[in-house]
Amino acid sequence: MTAGATMLLQINFKSGMPVYLQVVDQIKTAAASGAIQSGEAIPSIRPLAEELRVNRNTIAKAYTELESQGIIESIPGKGCFIKPNNSPLKKEVRRKLLTEEIDQVIVQAHHLQVPPSEFLNLVRERLAVMDERQRSNETPKSP
């Protein structure tokens, strides 16, 4: 199966998030959930831009960002591929990056009046969902 068939991106102009970041986020999510496996190709810029009907510069910008984050690698003449999940960043740096994101969600939870215990339950629930998705995406390989 080709990556294009398993990866369905959707742009939402009402989210207020820059379009290229929506592409970055969705590809990161697809890679994290196993919808696209490491080593698999992601669509090249032109067909993806045409399909989503967005400027090809937007997709190019998203791919540059994904490459600099170490999510994909581009092999000249072959296309872009999901990299094996070895973050090039040191553990402390990774923790720090994640801490910032978590802090933002905690602030959001506070404003939405979601108490800490409920918040933690929600996190566990989402981890379980992601885990489930990852498992269902692992295609059994014939020996």
């Binding site: 207020g16 967005v54 400027n55």
Partner: protein
């Protein structure tokens, strides 16, 4: 030409017909590689602006520069680098599609035959058909083929999809993204005037809204969607009479309050939250909604 030379630079453009459509002091700059939207209602002056850019009309005031050159004194140099798809496309009716494309190609230094073949195929156009027998959609498709094959640095589109059916419109935009932008990443510049904004939403990265001949708002598309927000709050009783500075429009409907924020959205959301609404949502405006909110 240095990279910083704008593809289009319009300063204080003035054009008057003594009729409704005119331009009164328009400013607009398009950097190379951008897809720039020119939005306006019918009669706002979009086509007049396009015609001044094309040197089909001589400005009464102000300046127009393309690639740093004056299109009235460097007509050939400028025209060989651009292509134009108008709203109403006209060809010599006795020529076939093949003859029309060959005729148009004869004016060009370059003509990509592979692109031409690919697009004729994609649009299912019969090269042997006389242009008189083409539908409006097919005429626009032939004009688009003729505009893309010379691989110009600048593509000018004036209301290109108005009056076309949705399938043809969709294919048109996909072709601009695919076949046109493919050639020189970061170099192919597009100026598109339209009031069918939502179709071009993903393609446009910067835009100017014009009204009665003037530019009234110029923004980056992502920036606009970040700055303009629609905030909705529902209360258990009547919405409070609080005044929200920075809100463009405020609408009250029963227990609901709807605000359009132009910047300052997060502050308004914070204030509303303090009033303990039953529900509170906020979303970005699409470019079309920004257009409507700006001209309302």
């Amino acid at each position: 030409m240095s990279d910083s030379t704008p593809a289009i630079e319009i300063k204080d453009l003035v054009y008057t017909y003594g009729r409704a459509e005119a331009v009164h002091g328009l400013n607009l700059t398009v950097q190379p590689g951008r897809c720039y939207g020119l939005f306006g209602r019918n009669g706002a002056g979009k086509t007049t602006t396009m015609k001044c850019v094309l040197n089909l009309l001589r400005p009464r005031g102000g300046t127009v520069r393309l690639f740093g050159l004056d299109p009235s004194t460097h007509e050939v140099e400028v025209k060989r680098r651009l292509a134009y798809v108008p709203d109403h496309v006209a060809f010599y009716p006795w020529m076939t599609v093949r003859e029309t494309l060959d005729y148009l190609a004869s004016f060009r230094d370059r003509w990509n035959r592979d692109t031409e073949r690919g697009l004729l195929d994609r649009f299912r156009l019969d090269p042997g058909q006389r242009t008189a027998a083409l539908s409006k959609g097919q005429r626009t498709q032939v004009a688009l083929v003729a505009a893309i094959c010379p691989e110009p640095d600048l593509l000018l589109l004036d209301e290109p999809t108005s009056g076309l059916d949705p399938i043809v419109r969709r294919e048109f935009i996909e072709t601009v993204i695919g076949a046109y932008q493919e050639g020189g990443p970061g170099k192919r510049t597009i100026l598109v005037s339209t009031h069918l904004i939502s179709e071009f939403e993903g393609l446009i990265d910067q835009f100017t809204i014009m009204d009665r001949g003037r530019d009234i708002l110029a923004l980056d598309a992502d920036q606009a969607r970040n700055r303009y927000q629609k905030i909705r709050a529902r209360f258990t009783g009547a919405p409070p009479d609080t005044v929200f500075p920075g809100a463009l429009h405020v609408r009250r409907n029963g227990r609901e309050l709807e605000l359009i924020a132009n910047g300052g959205g997060p502050e308004i959301v914070e204030r509303l939250r303090g009033l303990s609404p039953e529900s509170l949502t906020s979303e970005a405006l699409t470019l079309e909604e920004v257009f409507v909110a700006t001209l309302k």
